[in-house]
Amino acid sequence: MSQFLQATIYGLLQGGLLALIAVGFSLVWGVMNVVNLAHGSFVILGAYIGWKLNSAMGLDPFLGMLVAAVVLFAVGYVLQRWLINLVINGPIFITLLLTFGLDLLIVQGMNIAFSADYRSIKTSYAGDSLALGSVRVPVGRLLAFVIAVIVTFALVALVNRTRTGLSIMATGMDRGAARLMGIRARHAYALTFAIAAALAGMAGTMVGTVGTFNPAAAGGFTLLSFVIAVLGGLGNMYGALVGGLLIGLVEAWGGQYLPGTWVNALAFAVLVLVLIFRPSGLVGRAYYAARQEV
């Protein structure tokens, strides 16, 4: 029983972190219909920023995470405003190709700048755990989980309660109509991408604190984000949280009761099942699955 509880706790915490990694990817996809293949490299870039601040200046990663968010916000805004916006009206293959190219550039750039060595952000507390009976709750992962949940709710508040957020959602729903209402679509898109990149950067710093990373890990995070975004569904900010928690739990439980190498297949099996029974994702809106870009 304690083995099951332990796996569940661990899976939930892991799921929260996965959700934070994926939420920006889901946002960009939902609003702009761009599948951002460079998302994983933003995560890793955020991890490197947190790591550099920690190793050079001793800054705590949970503060460094904010710096990473600011830097990636700027990078994301510039990329979308002056690069991706140029091809946003093209077929989805063009944006796929462009973000794939960006991914290659960023990953190889990090290889040159930071080498391919594995890194980890060291703190005195993240590896410790609280004992609840026979179950351990790791401190670093708990903090990361709490931040993931807070960020998700903050994002929901942003898109539902603020003018900026509403303009982002409006542009995502119908760009033509939004522009007629006086929304600057280019700016709204750039903001969306910037927010997504900033969240990826925060997630990256936390990944670096609880685990290890190097540039080659970027592709894995993009893939995970894709699975989680589809699982949760587009058009709902809770989608990534639901998808992330589900993947975290499924992997943790699967790891306990199935041979260990099945874990990767399991995530995709769940994805296939969800696509069969709920094609728009667990909490996604059907509109986003069916829409046509005009």
Binding site: Y10, W82, S115, Y118, S120, R136, G255, Q256
Partner: protein, 414 residues
């Protein structure tokens, strides 16, 4: 959105030049496309994992080959049939993919390059070995340790490193010989790639032979940084020793997550190739203390040769040229290159068949230890070193005749 022709063309120029640069890079440092012997150089082909997931190890392997070329050429070249011949190693990037590594071997063959230095890792080397055999080339293998490569009857691939079955087994042997109190139960956790599984089997066999209770091996996906499932599974059985058949990233994950999950073996951790890498201690800090690992080579390895001198000399050279402490990946690459050069010198020829025969009969000391091959092409005559992280550094603790420090046991008692 309005079209912006100016910025589009700027982007296009940048993209085009990036492509151009990439294209040039992949052609490698091509100085001589001639085969052996022409213009006084000996062409050797090396497909390298310079980008992709093995980029780190690939870069170290390249350093090892490069140092070997520098060392041999500094003496005027290899002495082949009374003539001094300079080495010309041609590097090409295989992007860490076995298919590409095998294709590059074919390309070298088309250019008349018959002597090959292997890429990094068992998967790449296994793919290359098949092509080598078909083309009648000959390959010195620096990093493909999986016993599977040598079970296929190939006659043209020679590995200077100890076989995969020794990696975990040597840790078990060191514990059997040195640990007080002796552990009772051993749990083996392994990545699920072919090499790691072979390592795990070798370790389990050695642990059974030593009389320990061996728990069923727990697998996790190769390259994962989450091994919590495997740890949760063994936690209840309270193993005295946890041995990970791992690469660096999974090895780090085992120690990190064991702490998170409160899994504390009464004896300690053994992690095969992770602890000898300086990154292991750097990443884990004090949690890395006393973790055991196994290494193909350390700078206290015994033996010397005319090009590199002793292991200590080798360490100095790597440090001077690359600014870091030598990694065993450096050393095994240099050793593979050394074996190829020595075989060519012994054969007095650069002909692939003659070099092959000379390699098969090679029996020499070197900075890497004893280099000699069994009839399968494996170097089973060299023991592996067992190291332990002490004070943030990996020090050799076994075999005892080349030990730098006493093994600290139990390793988990702080």
């Amino acid at each position: 959105m309005k079209p912006q022709p100016k910025s589009v063309s700027v982007v296009a120029v940048i993209a085009a030049s990036a492509l151009l640069a990439a294209g040039c890079g992949s052609k490698g440092e091509k100085t001589s496309t001639e085969g052996a012997g022409k213009s006084g150089t000996l062409a050797i082909g090396a497909s390298m994992s310079l980008t992709g997931k093995l980029a780190r190890e690939g870069e170290l392997t390249k350093e090892g080959y490069q140092l070997c070329q520098d060392k041999v050429n500094a003496k005027g070249g290899a002495d082949i049939g009374g003539k001094k011949v300079k080495l010309d190693i041609q590097f090409q990037d295989d992007t860490s993919k076995p298919d590409t590594a095998a294709q590059l071997v074919d390309q070298f063959n088309d250019k008349g390059v018959k002597l090959i230095l292997s890429s990094y890792g068992s998967a790449n080397t296994e793919a290359q070995a098949a092509v080598i055999e078909r083309n009648g080339q000959v390959m010195a293998d620096s990093a493909g340790a999986d016993n599977k490569i040598f079970e296929k009857g190939y006659k043209r691939t020679f590995a200077v490193l100890s076989p995969a079955t020794e990696y975990a087994a040597s840790i078990v042997k060191a514990i059997k010989e040195l640990a007080q109190p002796q552990p009772k139960t051993v749990a083996i956790l392994s990545a699920d790639d072919g090499f790691s599984k072979t390592v795990a089997e070798g370790g389990a066999a050695a642990a059974k032979e030593a009389g320990y209770t061996v728990l069923p091996t727990q697998l996790f996906p190769n390259g994962t940084s989450d091994v919590s499932s495997a740890l949760t599974k063994v936690k209840g059985q309270k193993p005295d020793v946890i041995i990970g058949s791992v690469h660096l990233v999974e090895g780090v994950a085992i120690v990190k997550q064991a702490k998170e999950l409160g899994v504390v073996p009464s004896g300690g951790f053994g992690e095969t190739v992770a602890p000898p890498t300086p990154d292991f201690a750097k990443t884990l800090g004090k949690d890395a203390e006393n973790v055991l690992g196994s290494s193909q080579w350390t700078d206290s390895t015994k033996g010397s040769d005319k090009y590199f001198g002793s292991a200590k000399d080798y360490a100095k050279d790597i440090n001077a040229k690359y600014g870091h402490a030598p990694d065993y990946h450096d050393a095994e690459a240099s050793a593979a290159c050394l074996a190829l050069v020595m075989a060519a010198e012994k054969a007095g020829s650069t002909d692939a068949d003659k070099v092959r025969d000379a390699l098969a009969g090679l029996d020499t000391e070197s900075f890497f230890g004893h280099i000699k091959f069994n009839d399968k092409g494996q170097n089973v005559y060299k023991p592996m070193s067992v190291i332990q992280v002490q004070g943030g550094k990996a020090v050799t603790v076994w075999p005892t005749d080349s030990a730098e420090a006493k093994m600290i046991w139990p390793g988990t008692k702080k």
